[in-house]
């Protein structure tokens, strides 16, 4: 190695400039990035491509069957009552869940930003649910929302019987039960984001508003709220894709029931693929899910890229 190294060095002076173009220096970054580029290309984009391909085949059963059926899987899928229910459920769930998390999270953040005693304690209390997995949350909330035990029993003992509800046992209320559990878990996360945002607003800005004669409410509406916009957007993106892909909470709480009341595309994707062996249909659901998430993420990416250009 040593001799060949010296040989290369000795040749350098004669053709220096042109050779430097291919020097190790410029190649190193590419070599360092290459493994992750290759792995992501194969294991993320390659498999997205494969899933898209499988979704156009009639694969049913353990052995792959790549007979093409065009868009048949998709037309079948959108004709299924179960999948139609999934789509409406997922939209309703996402809206309620986002709304709940953002309102509760922002409210808690404002309260905690008041620099009172004990805020650190409550900050942690609100954040802790985030550390629990959805399976645990789901199981505990399933017990609490059982019509015969849990919350209903509490209402009864407190002589608040009129508040009793069938919760997870009824098709009309089951989805709200799941929303409550999900919101309980994720609103702390929202709070942390908003709190960081609020703490990031320099006092000078609030002072300036006051000097200009704005009331506290006006200052809040005209100064603080606009500054929270990027944080709200991030929260919508992060919570939105969690909510579209929700699976574990459904498994733990309701298994999609009663009826299709709490069934979600992610859960049906698993059932179709691994319980019914309908691989083609499972792949089609995966592609629909990908499309839904892209609908949410792509505008955000475009927006943030534009911001970067402006800077």
């Amino acid at each position: 190695m040593a001799t060949s190294g010296t040989a290369a060095r000795e040749r350098l002076p004669s053709g220096g400039r042109s050779l430097r173009h291919f020097s190790w220096d410029s190649l190193t970054p590419f070599l360092l990035i290459a493994p992750s580029v290759i792995l992501i290309a194969v294991f993320v984009y390659g498999f997205i491509g494969y899933t898209a391909y499988v979704s156009t085949t009639k694969w049913y059963g353990i052995n792959p069957d790549y007979t093409s059926v065009g868009l048949q899987q998709y037309t079948d899928l959108f004709g299924l009552p179960r999948f139609q229910a999934d789509l409406t459920n997922t939209v309703e769930f996402t809206i309620l869940f986002l709304f709940g998390c953002i309102v509760l999270g922002f409210g808690a953040a404002i309260l905690l930003d008041q620099k009172l005693r004990g805020t650190i304690f409550f900050q942690n209390v609100f954040l802790f649910p985030l550390a629990i997995s959805f399976i645990v949350t789901g199981t505990v909330w399933r017990w609490m929302l059982n019509p015969n035990t849990g919350i209903n029993m509490l209402f009864e003992q407190a002589h608040l019987g009129f508040l009793k509800s069938p919760w997870l046992a009824d098709t009309h209320t089951a989805l709200y039960g799941v929303v409550i559990a999900a919101t309980w878990q994720m609103s702390g996360f929202c709070m942390a984001m908003f709190l960081a945002g609020l703490r990031g607003i320099p006092d000078e800005l609030r002072e300036a508003a006051r000097v200009d004669g704005a009331s506290e409410l006006q200052g809040f509406l005209r100064v603080i709220l606009p500054l929270m916009r990027p944080i709200t957007l991030s929260a919508v993106i992060i919570l939105g894709h969690i909510s579209l892909k929700i699976f574990d909470l459904i498994v733990a709480m309701t298994n999609g029931g009663p009826g299709y009341a709490t069934d979600m595309p992610g859960f049906y994707m698993f059932t179709a693929t691994f319980r019914q062996n309908l691989y083609g249909r499972g792949a089609a659901i995966a592609m629909v899910l990908l499309f839904l998430v892209a609908l949410l993420i792509v505008p955000y990416l475009v927006w943030s890229m534009r911001q970067e250009v402006e800077r």
Partner: protein, 433 residues
């Protein structure tokens, strides 16, 4: 400086070398991982099942003990995956077999789950010669052999038989509901009415979280309404899914729901059994694994509770049957063959079934090993007309069973007999032909 590397050169070369090593090494490992089972280790036996809890895990262990006594040099690896009715295990198994890493032997429900999933895909080895050399024809009922066969070959050996059509009645509150009143579905509904009038608001316990429990009600009602021949005909094309019996069977479920606990959609079968134990319900319709729940809670068979054929199905036996077979490419093939022999042996089945709470697939296991209810069921099994269960994978492919579960989940909410009957006929068109 000649002959020495500068620091920059040194860093570059070390970096490159490390990179090449890492990528090369990773690639070699990747190839090795893709290259199939590799060299089989001396003597192992990997058994895949979803028996992870209570009596079933104990029963499996008993069979392991018998195996290791016979083949002392083999270490058994228990690759059990938790999850009721194998819901998770089946997903894991599918992934393993598709990836070319099958276990040596795995648990599979007799019937379509075995035939249409694994045999049709060419993933199983026939055990026809083992069946013949072990003389199982003489001790295992012919109807049962048919369920685990396709073409001229047998593909797995039944270890146990569970009964899907059983009614569990608490002795405390059960004067109205008895074997004489449950001979017909109408009689049963009448008895439930009597119980309700006597102050038990929700006399029939049901846990329908996951919907398959309702599918069991449906298949039992189909047998009760149309008889065993009609039921079996639904799967071999001799009876039609548009027959009026389908609607009648659904109608009976709908009438039963008038007597069922309101929270059924949030609880499972074991909590439903708990209602019977607590006396808030009089009876529940469930497979004979419910007996395990009662005995585990210190209730004595035929003293505190009893088990009889579900309403209107006397003389039939809804088969829920676990079997073991040998997958193609099993890493320890000979050990797996010996395992299958143990599963079908008298010793194996007498050790396993009392713990599991099922009855043996063999008819020559002494009845004295079992509790009085199992003894009665064993007697009935010998002469009963056997019907494969849809809910437990024997009668129909998974896609149909799972689709039917969905439909039953809809039905208990909407109780629309005509709509559900149409949807079921559609499912049958799609997956049973």
């Amino acid at each position: 400086m000649k002959g020495n590397w500068t620091r920059r050169e040194f860093v570059q070369r070390v970096g490159t070398a490390a990179g090449v090593l890492a990528v090369g090494g990773g690639f070699a490992e990747f190839l090795a991982a893709c290259g199939g089972p590799g060299t089989p280790t001396a003597s192992q036996l990997e058994i895949f099942s979803w028996w992870t809890a209570g009596g079933e895990a104990d029963g499996l262990k008993e069979m392991f003990n018998i195996y290791t006594k016979k083949y002392a040099n083999v270490t058994i690896k228990n690759a059990a995956v938790a999850g009721g009715a194998g819901s998770n295990a089946k997903a894991v198994l599918a992934t393993r077999i598709q990836g070319g890493q099958p276990p040596d032997s795995f648990q599979v429900h007799a019937g379509q789950e075995l035939i249409s999933t694994w045999v049709k895909a060419g993933k199983m080895e026939p055990i026809t010669s083992i069946w013949a050399s072990e003389g199982w024809d003489a001790v295992i009922p012919k109807d049962l052999k048919t369920i685990v066969s396709s073409g001229s070959d047998v593909w797995s050996v039944p270890v146990n038989i569970h009964r899907g059509n059983a009614l569990w009645v608490s002795s405390k509150a059960a004067s109205a509901v008895s074997a004489t009143t449950t001979n017909t579905l109408d009689g049963f509904l009448g008895a439930l009415g009597t119980a309700k009038a006597s102050g038990i608001k929700e006399p029939l316990a049901l846990g329908s979280k996951g919907n398959w429990q309702v599918t069991m009600l449906f298949e039992n009602n189909l047998v009760a309404v149309g008889g065993a021949d009609f039921y079996r005909g639904l799967f071999n094309g001799k009876s039609s899914w548009t027959d009026n019996n389908i609607k009648t069977a659904l109608n009976y479920i709908s009438r039963m729901l008038n007597y069922v606990n309101a929270d059924h959609a949030t609880i499972d079968w074991d909590q439903a059994a708990g209602r019977v134990q607590a006396g808030t319900s009089v009876a529940t319709i469930m497979g004979d694994w419910a007996k395990g729940y009662f005995t585990a809670n210190n209730m004595k068979p035929d003293t505190d509770f009893t088990g009889i054929p579900s309403p209107g199905t006397t003389g039939t036996y809804m088969i829920v049957c676990d079997t073991f077979g040998v997958p193609k490419g099993a890493p320890h093939h000979d050990n797996a063959v010996n395992w299958v022999k143990v599963c079908g042996s008298k010793d194996g089945q007498s050790a396993f079934n009392p713990k599991k709470g099922s009855i043996p697939a063999r008819t020559d296991v002494p009845a004295s090993l079992f509790d009085p209810i199992a003894q009665r069921f064993m007697g009935e099994f010998k002469s009963a007309s056997l019907t494969p269960s849809i809910a437990h994978g024997s009668a129909a492919p998974e896609a149909f069973a799972s689709g039917l579960n969905d439909e039953m989940g809809q039905f208990v909410q909407k109780k629309n007999v005509n709509a559900s009957a149409t949807n079921i006929a559609k499912l049958a068109d799609q997956f049973l032909k």
